[in-house]
């Protein structure tokens, strides 16, 4: 089996491992790919004669799986990509038997590109790059014939390296085509917030350590107790759960494209139409708008990682002044009577909403509430009553929901906000610090309407467990609940992970999130608004890159030819003779030189003649060209001769 096939097998193995970890493979492909890989490792006549049947079986299996998956129409792309991955494996198997592996390399490259549509984090991209490098090395091996693996990898890496300036020039400067159609997105790697807030939902979500978003700040980050990142604003309460309710008219906020960016967000894929933000400032893109509830609305789920900036406005947040509607006061009539009675009693005590808020605060503090990840099941009917007055064990959504309902019962407009609180401050070496938000930072809190101040955030969880807000979720839980969060990795691993996250964040922000608007900003900076020169600049940049690459190749070739390994070994072997002042004369052939040297040192005649014999045999007897093994043999022989010559030279000098 050729080296090229081995490299392609390794590339397929890496691709499979990457796809397996990220969970995009159909079970059929997850099993079939390594099975086919194993078959390709040891080509057998039985496999060769049944290649068509194997292909047919794979196609049939794929078709059955794809039909099953078609209940969700957005999965057609995943089905198609799985087919390409299967085809890449089959092509590799086929190439081991009859065809040139070239086409297998090309299908594998396509497969790598398709894998890139699903996985864009740095580790996946590095794996994809390694797979692509192996494919290129396989193609080089096919053309250049047998050669040492190190030489082959060096050649392939050189090719890779010299092409990078051209890639960068094209990537940064060539005009980007607009999307012609929309590919369905990635479903398996989405953050866990949902449109409907059920009791207990966040408690299970926080047990996941998946990354939700990363934020970089201009200046220092806000203190922990002010790190509230809103995503969804729930206004409609049906007695059991909270939902966003009918869509609110969007506030008349214009995106500011060139303001000072206060926060740069990098958000993981999500099935929500809403994006996290702090609630202050404005987005720097027209794709995002702020609704009157203070949500950052994108209109579509986030299929790939997305980034956006929040810029300073210099004035207050308009959404906070949007007056409440009847929905913000509505409570289902036939539910939670005890909660309503409590709210009414507070209403009787004071007409001032701030005073009523204070009463609520005192009441929450006076009750023996327990903050837990395992609150137990609440009855479907009157569940807030059951929580507030009976169980008194709950997670943040229980407190936020019951407090908002209580406020409505006291005639204060209130709503539940779901998002993230806190985060993990990461300070990687050599890169900018950022705040990492995980699913475990998911949180719910309330907002109430105070006539003079507008919508004000109130977090009843912080009344019950202040550590939740000031420190972390883990600090606010008891020991048994902490175990539900899972074991924390050792400190050194956390440091490494933090560094890696930092690199990944930069990679995402600078490379993966580079889109047409980022290109516009770059070109605006480069060309000072002279966009008509974009094409020319791109062509010139690619031309410069190409010229540099070609020059580099010529220089490398020249250096390599000067460093012919056989010649180096020969020169090395002749050093002992040079110590005896026997050196090759200009124009003298090796054979002539050896004869002359043999005359000068007759006792070493046979040894010296062997130099010429071995070298010329390597140079001229090898057909079509010397192999690496022959070179190795020559080196060993010349080294042995050199050792004997050294021994002779030392002996001579010792006698002298």
């Amino acid at each position: 089996m050729s080296l090229a096939q081995r490299l392609l097998q390794l590339a397929l193995l890496l691709l499979w491992a990457q796809l397996l970890i990220t969970g995009h493979l159909y079970p059929l492909a997850a099993i079939a790919m390594p099975a086919i890989l194993l078959l390709s490792l040891k080509p057998h006549s039985l496999v060769r004669s049944n290649l068509n049947w194997i292909t047919l079986a794979c196609l049939l299996g794929w078709a059955i799986t794809a039909i099953r998956e078609q209940e969700d129409p957005t999965t057609w792309f995943t089905s198609l990509v799985n087919l390409v991955w299967l085809m890449a494996s089959l092509k590799l198997l086929e190439s081991g038997h009859k065809h040139n592996p070239r086409s297998a390399a090309l299908v594998l490259l396509l497969s790598i590109g398709l894998a890139g549509t699903f996985n864009q984090n740095l580790s996946s991209n590095l794996l994809q790059g390694s797979c692509a490098l192996l494919c290129i090395a396989a193609l080089v091996a096919l053309e250049a014939g047998p050669q040492p693996l190190a030489d082959l990898l060096r050649r392939s890496l050189t090719l890779f390296a010299i092409v990078i300036p051209i890639v960068l020039a094209g990537f940064l400067l060539l005009p980007r085509l607009p999307a012609l159609w929309s590919l369905p997105g990635n479903r398996s790697n989405q953050t866990g917030l949902s449109e409907y807030l059920r009791p207990g939902e966040l408690a299970s979500l926080v047990q996941s350590h998946g990354i939700a978003a990363r934020v970089r700040f201009r200046g220092p980050p806000p203190p922990p107790e002010r790190r509230y990142w809103r995503v969804l604003v729930h206004r409609q309460f049906d007695g059991y759960g909270w939902s966003h309710g009918p869509s609110l008219p969007l506030a008349n906020e214009q995106a500011i494209a060139d303001g000072t960016i206060l926060q740069q967000w990098l958000v993981e894929p999500s099935q929500l139409d809403w994006r996290p933000w702090s609630g202050h400032g404005l987005p720097n893109t027209t794709d995002l708008r702020i609704d009157s509830g203070g949500g950052l609305w994108a209109g579509t789920p986030l299929r790939q990682r997305g980034s956006y900036g929040i810029v300073a406005t210099g004035r207050g947040d308009t959404w906070r002044k949007a007056p409440p509607t009847a929905v913000d006061l509505a409570l289902p009539e036939d539910s939670n009577p005890r909660l309503k009675a409590l709210g009414n009693s507070w209403l009787q005590q004071s007409v001032d909403p701030v005073k009523r808020l204070e009463i609520a605060h005192n009441w929450f503090n006076s009750q023996p509430f327990t903050y837990t990840l395992d609150p137990g099941r609440l009855p479907h009917q009157n569940q807030l009553d059951a929580f507030l007055f009976d169980h008194q064990r709950g997670f943040c959504e229980h407190y936020a929901a019951s407090f908002s309902a209580l406020m409505r019962a006291t005639n204060i407009p209130a709503r539940v906000v779901v998002g993230y609180q806190g985060g993990h401050w990461q300070q990687p070496l050599g890169t900018d610090a950022f705040l990492l938000l995980k699913n475990s930072d998911a949180h719910a809190w309330s907002e109430i309407w105070l006539p003079k101040r507008g919508w004000v955030e109130v977090d009843p969880t912080s009344w019950v467990v202040p550590e939740r807000v000031r420190q972390s979720l883990a600090a606010s839980l008891n020991e048994s609940d902490r175990q539900l969060l899972g074991q924390q990795p050792p400190a050194w691993l956390q440091v490494l992970a933090s560094q890696w996250q930092g690199l990944d964040t930069h990679w995402q922000l600078w490379v993966m999130q580079f889109d047409s608007s980022a290109q516009e900003r770059l070109l605006f900076t480069l060309l000072h608004g002279q966009r008509q020169w974009q094409g020319l600049v791109a062509v010139v940049a690619i031309g410069v890159g190409l010229t540099g690459a070609i020059t580099l190749i010529v220089v490398i070739d020249h250096r390599q030819n000067q460093q012919d390994p056989a010649r180096v070994a020969l020169k090395d072997c002749l050093i002992p003779l040079a110590k005896l002042k026997i050196k090759p004369a200009p124009g003298e052939t090796l054979q002539q030189f050896c004869k002359r040297a043999a005359v000068a040192i007759p006792e070493q005649q046979q040894l010296i003649e062997r130099i010429s014999l071995h070298y010329n045999s390597y140079r001229f007897d090898s057909n079509p060209s010397p192999t690496a093994q022959q070179l190795r043999r020559l080196r060993l022989k010349l080294r042995a001769i050199k050792t004997e010559l050294w021994y002779y030279v030392r002996k001579q000098k010792g006698q002298a």
């Binding site: 070239r102 086409s103 090309l106 490259l109 396509l110 790598i112 590109g113 398709l114 894998a115 890139g116 549509t117 864009q120 991209n125 994809q128 692509a132 290129i136 193609l139 080089v140 096919l142 053309e143 250049a144 014939g145 050649r155 090719l159 010299i162 092409v163 051209i166 890639v167 094209g170 990537f171 980007r176 085509l177 607009p178 999307a179 012609l180 159609w181 929309s182 590919l183 997105g185 299929r303 790939q304 490379v511 993966m512 999130q513 580079f514 889109d515 690619i542 890159g545 190409l546 690459a549 070609i550 190749i553 010529v554 070739d557 020249h558 390599q560 030819n561 012919d564 079509p624 060209s625």
Partner: protein, 320 residues
């Protein structure tokens, strides 16, 4: 004019007939290979997937592949550019046998995967060579059925290295002809008596003969005589290892010519084989040909080559 004729005419126009050829811009041609076409298509597909899926990974891979395509245009050209080819004196060969056409390559750089193919029907398949820096003698396989003095025809030199995305090629017609002797075939030849003893012509089919020599005696066999001389019948009958000994006709000088009762070309093939055998055995042999050409008996490879050339340049029979 058909396409095939037009194509052949174009190839003739593109090929160079010089004893030395330095490959460069004026004689090298380059076009994407079919694999290069598929590669470009894959780049476009990946780019479209990237921009429509909102993902930069496929876009980067598409640019990487496009960059490699662009670079390999030059690298493939460089693989042939500057290579110097020279014809070498050719050795005589035999019809119906693969023979070598020797050329010399002079290169400053290592050039992987250079492919060579003779553009003639029935030519051996493509040959692959890696050219190393310096001078290198290349022996290209060549084949013909016809004896005579032949020009080898057009040679296609091409490469697809380093990635197989482009195919760069040139045509060369090496002007050095190659002598082709008749094919070697064992069979009867006409023997002539030596001029010294004026012996009569002997027929080639006598009872005592083995090949064209006269059987003289049996004697103990020595390994250096080779197995051809072993009397296998005697060995089978348990008489031990004995060798047949043959004697030349009358003297050590042997004159041979084409057997007259056979078709002329076949007779020449027998003659060719016999000449080679006698030379290998170290016997002096003379040649008498129908066009009154006579090469006096001698031995050695130079004499053999003269004889074979004489056979090669005999007029070919006319087609009926």
């Amino acid at each position: 004019m058909g396409f095939a004729e037009w194509w052949q005419g174009l190839q003739r126009r593109l090929s160079r007939t010089t004893p030395q050829l330095v490959l460069g811009h004026r004689n090298l041609y380059i076009l994407p290979s079919s694999f290069g076409g598929l590669w470009l298509l894959s780049c476009i597909v990946l780019y479209l997937i990237g921009i429509n899926g909102g993902s930069n990974s496929p876009v980067l891979l598409a640019f990487l592949m496009a960059g490699l395509l662009l670079i390999s245009l030059f690298l493939t050209h460089f693989n042939l550019q500057g290579l110097k080819l020279e014809v070498l004196p050719q050795r005589l060969g035999f019809a119906d046998q693969d023979q070598v056409y020797a050329i010399k390559t002079i290169s400053k750089t290592w050039r992987p995967s250079i492919k060579w193919r003779w553009l003639q029907p029935g030519a051996p398949e493509q040959q692959l060579q890696h050219i190393r820096p310096g001078h290198q003698r290349l022996e290209l396989r060549w084949h013909t059925h016809q004896r005579g003095l032949h020009l080898p025809g057009r040679l296609l030199i091409h490469t697809t290295a380093p990635l197989g995305l482009f195919r760069c090629w040139c045509y060369w017609e090496p002007p050095e002809p190659i002598w082709v002797a008749p094919a070697r075939q064992r069979g009867p030849v006409q023997l002539f008596a030596s001029d010294n003893n004026k012996a009569a012509q002997l027929n080639s089919a006598t009872n005592k003969r083995s090949g064209s020599e006269l059987f003289e005696e049996l004697r103990p066999w020595r390994p250096e005589e080779g197995l051809q001389r072993v009397d296998w019948k005697a060995r089978a009958r348990g008489r031990g290892w004995v060798a047949k000994r043959f004697s030349d006709i009358g003297s050590s000088e042997l004159w041979i010519g084409p057997a007259q009762q056979l078709p002329f070309e076949i007779a020449l093939e027998h003659l060719c084989d016999r000449l080679c055998q006698e030379t290998a055995a170290g016997n002096a042999v003379g040649l008498r040909l129908p066009n009154n050409t006579q090469l006096p008996p001698a031995n050695g490879h130079q004499h053999l080559e003269h004889c074979l050339r004489a056979l090669a340049q005999l007029p070919l029979p006319r087609c009926p």
